[in-house]
Symmetry: C2
Subunit: 341 residues, 2 copies
């Protein structure tokens, strides 16, 4: 580790409601975990806002001026090259130069990936970086990757995703021998498309992976796997369907309750219990999506992140640094690459 005190770079202009979720999250993380937080972004905006919520100066928080912001609807590749002074690029440079141990942003995922590839590049032996998300289920959560970095994958990419997801689950989430499943259209080994059938054979042969075989929606949402592997197209479609269906059913229940006076009264009585349940499925509690395969620790928070989500993402990033995730990934990916030849 480069510093005695962990230093986390944080994008000050990432979330939908920036900068307050970031600033509150940073202050909490600094006092709770003792980390130094380097907030990147427009100083003219961040400095007064920080002063407003924390009038006494805090030696653990500093602002790194980076005036440009990549908007959520901008083309990641284009804007990342055009806006060289953007708050994401600034964070990546801090990690690259050893000024920070990790970078956290709740900004445009595509832009974070693009800036990461430009500045940090890939871990040696890594075919493609992947975006991993934690999906909450009643039993806890599972990690799904890739959810969008690679629309077209080869079987060895999926094998690497299995290695990266498994190591992340072990080193950062503390799951011993994480159960790894391959998302497919049937549980049987012979089910799948050409890509998943080939990936199935590769992952099955890897003695370092606790592979449970193909999984479908039923197994995923029953929490049967800790890590679920898929290509970035299927993963992204799956993630968005999951969010949409959950929201649709919740809205239907809410509307049904409001539909007449008797159920409205009932609704008042059930509200607290349902809110408690909703809390266990709240992505803000689960601390961000790691970009795995970049040569630096990068954690992405949801665009709708609140300060609690920012704090969780910082916590996760710190844990990845302390448990030396990068070195572990490099060793494992080198071993896998050499096993192929």
């Amino acid at each position: 580790m480069k510093h005695r005190t962990l230093r986390i770079a944080l994008d000050g202009m990432g979330s939908d409601d920036y900068p307050y979720p970031e600033l509150h999250g940073a202050l909490t993380a600094a006092s709770e975990f003792g980390y130094e937080i380097l907030i990147t972004g427009d100083k003219a905006l961040l400095a007064p806002a920080l002063k407003e919520i924390n009038s006494t100066s805090n030696s653990k928080i500093s602002i790194i001026h980076a005036p440009e912001k990549i908007e959520s609807d901008e083309s990641p590749a284009f804007s990342s090259r055009k806006k060289t002074q953007n708050s994401i690029a600034a964070g990546m440079r801090l990690v690259k130069d050893g000024e920070a141990d990790a970078f956290v942003s709740a900004g445009n995922t595509g832009a974070i990936l693009a800036n990461g590839l430009i500045t940090l590049r890939r871990i040696p032996y890594t075919r493609r970086p992947a975006i991993a998300v934690l999906i909450p289920v009643p039993q806890g959560y599972f990690i799904l990757l890739d959810v969008g970095a690679n629309s077209d994958c080869k079987a060895d990419f999926l094998h690497q995703f299995a290695i990266m997801g498994s190591l992340y689950a072990h080193k950062v989430l503390g799951i011993r021998q994480p159960k790894v499943g391959l998302l497919s259209n049937g549980e049987e080994e012979n089910k799948g498309n050409e890509l998943t059938k080939e990936a199935h054979a590769l992952i099955k042969n890897d003695q370092n992976i606790n592979f449970i075989g193909n999984v479908e929606g039923k197994e995923m949402f029953a929490g049967k796997a800790d890590v679920v592997i898929t290509d970035g197209f299927t993963g992204n479609v799956s993630l968005k369907i999951t969010e949409s269906v959950a929201k649709m059913v919740a809205t239907l229940v809410k509307d049904a309750i409001k539909s007449n006076i008797i159920s409205l009264i009932g609704g008042i009585l059930v509200r607290k219990s349902i809110e408690n349940t909703a809390h266990t499925l709240d992505p803000n509690e689960h601390g961000g999506a790691p970009l795995l395969g970049l040569n630096g620790i990068v954690v992405v928070g949801h665009g709708r992140s609140n300060s609690r989500a920012i704090r969780s993402a910082i916590k996760v990033a710190g844990k990845a640094v302390k448990n030396e995730l990068l070195g572990e990934l490099e060793t494992a990916l080198e071993q896998q690459t050499k096993s192929y030849s």
Copy 2:
């Protein structure tokens, strides 16, 4: 049309609870729509069961003896060739020989497809048949295809799925100029994998399709498209995730309500409203999944079909026959095939 009275072949041993859903559904359909129903299956089982629920003989219902049943966990290809006297094959033969106008089964979808390909074959100019399902949303429903017939697709298959889904929506569901979307990992035209980008261009150029471009979970479940096109792998994964998440959220709400005495009382008051809502999302109301591209009308009911679902599937099959879906499909697919060369 070959007969004055429509004749529908019905698999008497398809649903999980066969034969009663089939027999009740057949009796309802016969009296409600005036169709003749030819029920295929083991006569030793079906005849006494029919007599039990309908003691007076009914000239509109007949039983076609086919003693073998393909179980839901059997390999479709293998069992379809081995069990030549299975109840699905018998239904397909009735259609092939002109003894029936359409076939309805709530059995193993893979086996229905395999038997259909063996006996009915494809409509001329059809690259691949597709399984289409109706997914209920608060605004009504949308058709998703392919949900499992083809794990690996080419762009022109997807173009044909768009043509078939659109014609089905128009001719059978009565939707004028059905809005067709392509399932992708982003709404923008440049989003997608290689397959969907190529398919996007083909579908966009087809003047007979009301193409609304790429759709994601959000648009699908807001009812923005009448027909959503995807390859059989992504479609199958998407369908199963949809079912699993809806079930998970519903169970969480139910468990939350049961978690304490106050919300339990509230639960009694909200139950009726929630049940009404659940009813609108009940797949039994929406009448089965057509296999599009086979050279005969084949409609698949859900394995958990009740008699109402069987009746709905028969109704849909009858409508497809009356509106001459097969001929329309052949004309459209011929036109599309010739437009390529």
